[in-house]
Subunit: 293 residues, 2 copies
Amino acid sequence: MILLDGKKISSQIKEEIALEVSKIKNSGEKPPHLAAVIVGDDGASLTYVNSKVKACKKVGFDSTIVRLPHTTSEIELIHKIKELNNNDDIDGFIIQLPLPPQINTQKVLLAVDPSKDVDGFHPENFGKMALDMSTFIPATPFGILELLQRYNVETKGKHTVVIGRSHIVGRPMSILMSRKGWPGNSTVTLTHSSTKNITQIILQADIVISALGVPNFLKAEMVKDGVVVIDVGITRVACEDHPKGYVIKGDVDFEEVSKKASFITPVPGGVGPMTIAMLLKNTLLAREQKMDF
Amino acid sequence: MILLDGKKISSQIKEEIALEVSKIKNSGEKPPHLAAVIVGDDGASLTYVNSKVKACKKVGFDSTIVRLPHTTSEIELIHKIKELNNNDDIDGFIIQLPLPPQINTQKVLLAVDPSKDVDGFHPENFGKMALDMSTFIPATPFGILELLQRYNVETKGKHTVVIGRSHIVGRPMSILMSRKGWPGNSTVTLTHSSTKNITQIILQADIVISALGVPNFLKAEMVKDGVVVIDVGITRVACEDHPKGYVIKGDVDFEEVSKKASFITPVPGGVGPMTIAMLLKNTLLAREQKMDF
């Protein structure tokens, strides 16, 4: 069993990005600049945004946090997005989700200039991804592809079963794993809440990508020997013994499933750390695109 | 076995559209107007465009054919597209494919205003479809959904196997059949040229959607009893006895497979006639969208 070590690989990627940034700076150009828009005071959202900003600093990016009150209207937010679209100093930006209920998230995401949409959430970028065009790939799926690539995991002709059809993980992974090229070219089955006989389907999988959010859902008796397991579940489970009062649990019963797996991601330290690294990578790509124009 | 009669249903849909058009005209508004751009003199393309124009006439739409010489440059074509984007008299338009080799098809499709993209080929519309937003659905997949709906075929929780990952059929069908709602909510496996053990996969299918282009590929021993079969294959097979010198063959060995199927599309007369009907439907939707604004 080989551990798909997201902590290690994400550090490598950040080092590679930092090297690129120092090249950019040495050539007299300004470094990539990521902005993050956050509406309201949700604690988890603030934590996420702060960790993204911290990661920017670490690789030498400029970063800006745009904080707006929780009473912000949809029109005000879209106005702010248009400012960011037109601000040549910003290479890419993200809208931290969720947004307050008075704001239509779809309308807001549609207002982002696709060339600055480093989250890859704009329908135009999502469509380009599905139509095999080059574009920003959402950070978590992009991180999974990168893990498969850096560990040289064969995907062609394999049967990949994706669990969950969310817009940010399951749906894009089902598309990416069935596209031509590597990682990809696998036969993909997308399962979800209406799927029957899910165990029977997962038992056929060479690669399982689980983005369900149910701790310990995937048991050893549900997978075949040699399976590749990507665990995208991140659920907080109460734990009195832990100083934080909770621990993070994946979808996979790691202890048992890892005995049968050829490759497996741990939780934490698997897909999670890859996400911020790939957001940085997308921001670097946004910067380089601009230089090409 | 129930025949999914695309010829009959497409006639019904055209009648429904004609009724809507007469309502629009009676209210003193102009009818929907579809334009088709064709570059060069390819015989098959001209035939397709002419049949689309004929269908427009039948339901009372205005139509325009924009014919450009095969020497047209990419810039000239994009200029023409921008004219159509800005022409308020045109509700929707299509670019007949394939385009001559000097023209980059992706760039051209990106130039079409998504709100006039009645083929549903623009990445923004494709992405909206994948992200469960309302948009134009490409005509052939839209026609398949319509057939399933009008024959009241249950899809929720069923296992759908899609054969082929083309941008115009396989990829969008794999997305549509796994979206929430009906027709949809099925567990979808997308198979393609790199798939191994394809027979073993198809044997599990409750619904098979074949868009492979290999005549008589799908045999009776590859499907289970009660299967729903959608045949999107259209291949010309030489036939001396036929006045045209060829016959149209689907992917399915209809005679044998139909004995096991609960529902099945014939070829010709199944999915084929639905495609033009749904192009008209999309043009009507484009027209109505405009009136809503």
